[in-house]
């Protein structure tokens, strides 16, 4: 187990290293002139030259990349013309827009994204697994047909359509909820939950549909297996067969998917945040893309990439815990 974990972590680090090289190459080396972008639109050639020197852009590419990695591990000192500015250990550079350390900007935005993701995940696992199990047990009936169509429609609906539908229903027509505006959990937990309700629902409905379909087919498959038939033959109660034994085997692929999907979930979170105006990582990404604030863009991509890699390792471990037939080697 420990050996497996160490190997997976090493593999994950390798993937991240490759990812960082690709990202660095794509964003800093390929097109355009980062110095001109960093300096702003009203810079004369002399100022651009100064910025290029400050950012170390006149050095060879591999040296620059090395400094970038060094910054992440040990921090980096930037000369600001008059003195030096220290950017602390996981240093992802300074924003072109306001010279703030990117790491700080990202940490500022994390709570909103985490609130959205965790809340929505709880909701969609409950909804998705519940619907999936129900439609697997009611095989062939009208419930099953309705649920199949509902989930098919759910997977086909982009999150911004669900979101708009929810807004129109709950904010404009019924007027039960105000237009969401983010309140930090630490300020007022009740207001936080009320304001997050619509974003959670919008994101959860989309994902729940996918999980319902997966849970259903995986549940059907497990129910057809020999050991379940044996339990039946022993006269075990149907409830304990389904709830205790079948669900456990059926949930393994659900867990695997929930982690493998992390990347697309961040994409949908980005859409949800933009739609409801939540100050999260996704919104930061979109605004910094539009202002071509490369260090921030690179920082967010790297952070989300890391999250995906970690989630994948976690998924494999959880998969083995849920399904004892899988051995970690």
């Amino acid at each position: 187990m420990t050996g497996y974990l160490l190997r997976r972590i090493a593999g994950g680090l390798a993937v991240l290293l490759v990812l960082s090289v690709i990202i660095y190459a794509v964003f800093y080396v390929a097109p355009g002139d980062p110095a001109r972008l960093a300096c702003g639109p009203r810079c004369n050639p002399e100022q651009i030259r100064q910025v290029r020197e400050q950012l170390g852009l006149n050095q060879p590419v591999y040296t620059q990349y090395w400094h970038f990695l060094q910054g992440i591990v040990a921090g980096h000192d930037y000369s600001t013309g008059t003195g030096t500015m220290h950017c602390q250990a996981p240093c992802l550079g300074l924003s072109y827009q306001n010279d703030q350390p990117v790491t700080g900007l990202i940490i500022q935005r994390l709570p909103a994204t985490a609130s959205l993701a965790v809340g929505a995940m709880v909701l969609w696992l409950l909804l998705g697994v519940g619907t999936g199990v129900l439609s697997a047990l009611r095989r062939g009936g009208i419930t099953e047909r309705v649920l199949t169509w509902l989930t098919l429609a759910g997977t086909a609906t982009p999150v911004f359509i669900t979101g708009l539908g929810l807004l129109m229903l709950f904010c404009a027509y019924l007027q039960w909820l105000p237009f969401p505006s983010y309140v930090p959990l630490t300020d007022d937990p009740e207001q936080w939950a009320w304001n997050m309700l619509l974003p959670w629902l919008a994101l959860a409905l989309l994902e729940a549909a996918k999980y319902a379909r997966l849970t259903r087919s995986s549940m059907l498959e497990t129910l057809a297996e020999d050991h379940i038939r044996t339990f039946r033959a022993y006269g075990l109660a149907e409830r304990s067969i389904v709830g205790g034994h079948a669900l456990r085997g059926a949930l393994a692929p659900v867990i695997a998917l929930s982690a493998a999907d992390f990347g697309s979930i961040f994409g949908n979170a980005m859409l949800t945040e933009t739609m409801f105006g939540l100050p999260g990582l996704g919104q930061l990404m979109v605004t910094s893309t539009k202002t071509i604030d490369l260090p921030v863009v690179v920082g967010v991509v790297l952070v989300t990439g890391t999250a995906v890699v970690v989630a994948n390792i976690l998924a494999d471990v959880l998969y083995a815990v849920a399904d004892r037939r899988v051995a970690l080697r």
């Binding site: 097109p31 404009a172 990347g263 697309s264 994409g267 995906v308």
Partner: protein, 329 residues
């Protein structure tokens, strides 16, 4: 009884493609989806004709048709529906909604189809190369697909638009970005695994012993056998490409205005959902129907290409009929 067997023999005689088509036609939902899809394609192809018929174009502002005192709400009921503007006008600008929807369909379908072609070509090429090539090629491609799968692809796609020169044609950029990021890694993995198991089959060994080159074996022996799983995968990717294009337009990094796109219209709609619900409903409905139609067709295609899958999971009427047949025997 004998009739049924005869029919089965006949069915095995006709070519694979025709058999698949027959199975597709037998499913009512697939047939309905195909008809709706045909209408949508017609809607997109005939955009200039439809515009001429209505007598409008997608970019002309009609300031007289919106209430500028109320911030630009369209005058008249249902978002300004009239004999001149069949589906009303856009809030704020007064541009014709019907024509913008027609042209938006073009962007959506062309980008999604183009991206799917890129995904299939690149994914199949990578997968086959990894399976047939030497160990170096396999490990390089293996790491590349690991990274591609780990990428939060919508985030990366959005980020890429920051570094591409502004004069690069946007639809081409969207096709490339979506095509190279969304699902290529998964497809390459699938093709590699399939090719590895095909490679062990006798007929491929025979072709190799007969002196066929790797390229010839890939083209003549492997590609036809790979068609079914690749088509199934592509059918899942297509609607997700549509959603991705709409999502990128929604975030403001899709096609450049004034070119109309559904995602862009929905993004404008988020500020108008109270005052002009019609403007939300129309693009949302079209986008929803388009993705739903592709999802239904993809689902039907999967079961048509792999009947084993269908009989294992089939439910409802067809399943019961199947069981009756068994008991009759």
């Amino acid at each position: 009884m004998t009739q049924e067997i005869q029919q089965e023999i006949q069915e095995n005689d006709i070519s694979g493609a025709r058999q698949v088509l027959r199975r597709l036609r037998a499913r009512k939902s697939a047939l309905a989806a195909a008809i709706v899809l045909g209408l949508l394609v017609l809607f997109a192809l005939a955009a200039p004709l439809l515009a001429a018929w209505e007598g409008q174009d997608p970019t002309t502002y009609h300031d007289g048709l919106v209430n500028s005192a109320a911030g630009g709400v369209p005058l008249g009921s249902f978002g300004g529906v009239s004999a001149e503007h069949w589906l009303g006008v856009e809030p704020g600008t007064g541009r014709d909604v019907f024509v913008r929807l027609c042209y938006g369909a073009r962007v959506s379908l062309v980008v999604a189809l183009g991206a799917t072609v890129v995904q299939v070509v690149v994914g199949v090429a990578l997968g086959i190369t990894a399976a047939l090539g030497n160990r170096l090629a396999d490990s390089v491609i293996g790491h590349l697909t690991d990274v591609l799968v780990a990428l939060p692809f919508l985030a990366f796609a959005v980020a890429l638009t920051a570094v591409v020169p502004a004069d690069f044609p946007r639809p081409v950029l969207l096709v490339l970005v979506i095509g190279l990021l969304n699902g290529v890694g998964g497809l390459a993995r699938l093709v590699r695994a399939q090719t590895l198991s095909l490679k062990k089959l006798d007929y491929v060994s025979a072709a190799r012993l007969a002196g066929g080159s790797s390229w010839r074996i890939a083209r003549r022996e492997l590609l036809p056998a790979l068609a079914a799983p690749v088509i199934t995968y592509a059918a899942v990717l297509l609607p997700s490409n549509i959603v991705m294009e709409a999502g990128m337009s929604f975030l403001g990094v899709g096609v450049k205005p004034p070119t109309p796109s559904w995602g862009q219209m929905l993004s404008t709609a988020t500020t108008w959902f109270r005052a002009d619900p019609m403007y939300v409903v129309l693009p949302a409905l079209l986008l929803f129907v388009t993705t739903l139609v592709f999802t239904v067709l993809g689902d039907a295609l999967r079961t048509a290409l792999d009947p084993r899958e269908a009989s294992r999971l089939r439910v409802g009427r067809a399943g019961r009929a199947g069981r009756r047949k068994e008991s009759a025997i």
